[in-house]
């Protein structure tokens, strides 16, 4: 059967405008229901995250209203632990704060942690994998031993200790996540680059005297980029789960309320048995967000791995 394979040749040239490029990339979602659902959910979260709080544009004297009906930190906008009503669609907390507003504001934290941590982790992982495989020898040995060692470090306990040391801020949480998360990307990219190193286009680039950096970043990297994107999607998912778990354990950034922290608050308020409206929305949001990323990842996976595409 004629499965269309992405040709393993040099893919450095991208002609056509950016829009055209994006459209061509979106094509892989065609006829893939799960991927479309994932994309839809993720886009909704991004919009909610962007418009969560009001924006004021000073020189136009204009305020764009935020989606959150109340200030998430404001106390006693309603009664204590009110169940959902017209005024508070998702009820209130034990301090009388509005759960819906907290939920909307929490989207932002998730987006920030997810995107920044994933970007940094994949950036490090891709470079480590690329350099390791391209140069081989002792460079490879050293980098891979380091990767092995990082694989021996349990993720969450490490993050807990690091955040305890550096302090509970969102930046430190991201750093802790990134320090572990790069390992899987490094291994996978290394394996992929190893197979590309043997291909004729690399040899011909070497033959015309291209520099190592040029061969690595202009010739090989574009070919492993789809895999990088796939691992970026996974990294977003793991980063969000890690942040939520850390916050749930009480190591979240006290100044930026996240979904995980909301559930931590329910626990510390001893309200888990009665206040279902306070527990379930953030939990469901975390699950939906991560799920959307995994659905998209599945679509990317088919692109990276055409053998899976028999359906």
């Amino acid at each position: 059967m004629s499965t269309e394979r992405t040709s393993p040749t040099d893919r450095t040239e991208t002609d056509g405008g950016t829009l055209e490029f994006i459209r061509s990339k979106l094509e892989i979602f065609e006829g893939d229901r799960l991927g479309q659902i994932g994309l839809g959910i993720l886009c909704s979260f991004i919009l909610i995250g962007i418009f969560a709080r009001p924006y004021t544009i000073d020189f136009l004297n204009l305020t764009i209203p935020g989606l959150a009906p109340h200030d998430p930190a404001e106390r006693a906008v309603g009664g204590r632990l009110e169940s959902p009503s017209g005024a508070h669609p998702l009820g209130t907390t034990h301090m009388g704060r509005d759960v819906l507003s907290q939920l909307i504001a929490g989207t932002r934290v998730t987006l920030i942690v997810g995107s920044l941590a994933a970007f940094m982790a994949v950036f490090i992982g891709t470079n480590v994998g690329l350099i390791s495989a391209y140069f081989g020898g002792w460079v490879d040995d050293v980098l891979m031993r380091i990767t092995d060692i990082v694989y021996g470090v349990p993720f969450l306990p490490f993050a807990i200790v690091l955040v305890a040391i550096l302090g509970s801020s969102i930046v430190n949480i991201i750093v802790a996540i990134v320090l572990i998360l790069w390992r899987s990307t490094a291994r996978v990219i290394r394996a992929q680059v190893l197979s590309h190193k043997q291909r004729p286009y690399v040899e011909s680039a070497q033959a015309i005297g291209a520099s190592h950096t040029r061969i690595m970043y202009r010739h090989i990297l574009p070919n492993v980029l789809p895999l990088t994107f796939l691992y970026a999607a996974f990294a977003v998912a793991w980063a969000v789960i890690a942040e939520a778990s850390l916050s749930f354990l009480g190591f979240g950034d006290p100044n930026m309320l996240s979904w995980g922290e909301m559930i931590y608050n329910v626990y510390t308020a001893n309200a888990i048995r009665e206040a279902w409206w306070w527990v379930f929305p953030p939990g469901i949001c975390i699950m939906l967000f991560v799920m959307s990323v995994f659905f998209i990842g599945r679509t990317l996976e088919k692109e990276v791995n055409p053998e899976l595409q028999h359906q």
Binding site: G152, V153, L156, I160, V161, G260, I263, G283, H310, Q311
Partner: protein, 326 residues
């Protein structure tokens, strides 16, 4: 390279990894804020007593001396003294470590048994409704952090149906005493074990399931599967004895990674269910600056992961006759 040389090399690697891990651990914890004595000051400790205490703990020595000293202690199995409990760390942690191993071991065992079976069937019946539904269920499970799975199970089975106890390891308490059989050998214990173990099983189900499915798809294309069918062997035999048996190999490697997630996950699951294990103890210790205790817990968790990586590599060699010991 022969099998023997491979094993020797792998053992050397293991030692180096342990050393590196130990160093990370040491550096991390010396960076920890808060004087380990600060919590005693409130008890009316005089500055002299404080000095004495710091000297007792060896904290006034230069760092490299402390490093060597700590390494020597660890090799003897001595993790120092807990600041809070004021007991040797090893006494506090040993039982909790076992509790964690029992809990997470059960969870992983179920995750793998269910995952391998489901994944194999999903691959066998590719493009069926079962496969498509299975993938969605698996991805949803994978998308749920451990604490969320735990909360959902708690809400359904404890708060709503009231079928299981909500927390702890035993109704009567006394979770840290008694011998092995007394601690883990009762129906009451199993009732307490069920929900947290199920939580872990659900959280770690996805990797074996999806990996099993995709390797199954590869293996099913192999010629020998057709030959086995032509041999007139029943489907069950071809599916489990040949197709699944060949697909299990890559799972051995991720088993080590799964142990890593499980060690990390224990921190969360034990918190949700108040399980008297090492993970929960570690969170408490970190919160209280009890770093001998936190360090020991962290060290043990890392050790389990490192040793599992080692075991997985050796198991792979044993299970796959084709492996070259490169």
């Amino acid at each position: 390279m022969g099998l023997r040389a491979y094993v020797v090399r792998r053992v050397l690697q293991l030692i180096v990894t342990f050393w590196a891990f130990f160093t990370i651990l040491f550096v991390l914890f010396r960076m920890m804020p808060g004087d380990p004595t600060s919590m005693f000051i409130m008890d009316g400790m005089t500055p002299e007593q404080r000095e004495q205490r710091i000297a007792e703990l060896g904290l006034n020595e230069p760092l490299h001396v402390q490093y060597v000293e700590y390494a020597r202690q660890l090799l003897r199995g001595d993790f120092g003294q807990s600041f809070i409990y004021r007991d040797p760390v090893i006494d506090i942690i040993a039982v909790r470590f076992m509790n964690t191993i029992v809990l997470m071991g059960t969870a992983l065992l179920f995750a793998y048994l269910i995952g391998i079976t489901f994944g194999a069937i999903m691959g066998w019946w590719r493009d069926s409704r079962f496969e498509r539904g299975g993938i969605i269920v698996t991805l949803v499970a994978r998308s749920s952090p451990e604490f969320w799975v735990g909360i959902v199970l708690l809400s359904v089975f404890v708060f709503w149906l009231g079928w299981f106890p909500s927390s702890g390891m035993r109704t009567t308490g006394g979770e840290l005493g008694g011998n092995f059989a007394a601690r883990y050998g009762s129906v009451d214990f199993l009732r307490h074990l069920f929900l947290p173990a199920l939580t872990g099983a659900i959280a770690y189900l996805a990797t074996p399931t999806l990996l099993m499915r995709s390797t199954m798809l590869d293996v099913l294309n192999a010629d020998f599967i057709e030959i086995k069918k032509a041999e007139g062997l029943p489907e069950r035999t071809v599916l489990f004895k040949h197709a699944a048996r060949n697909s299990v190999l890559p799972l051995v490697t991720v088993m080590a990674i799964a142990t890593g997630s499980a060690m990390g996950g224990s921190v969360v699951i034990e918190t949700v269910f108040n399980w008297p294990g090492m993970g929960r103890e570690m969170v408490n210790a970190v919160n209280n600056n009890d770093y001998p205790l936190a360090m020991a817990a962290f060290f043990l968790m890392g050790s389990v992961v490192i040793i599992m990586n080692f075991v997985a590599d050796l198991a792979y060699v044993y299970l796959d006759p084709r492996v070259e010991y490169e």
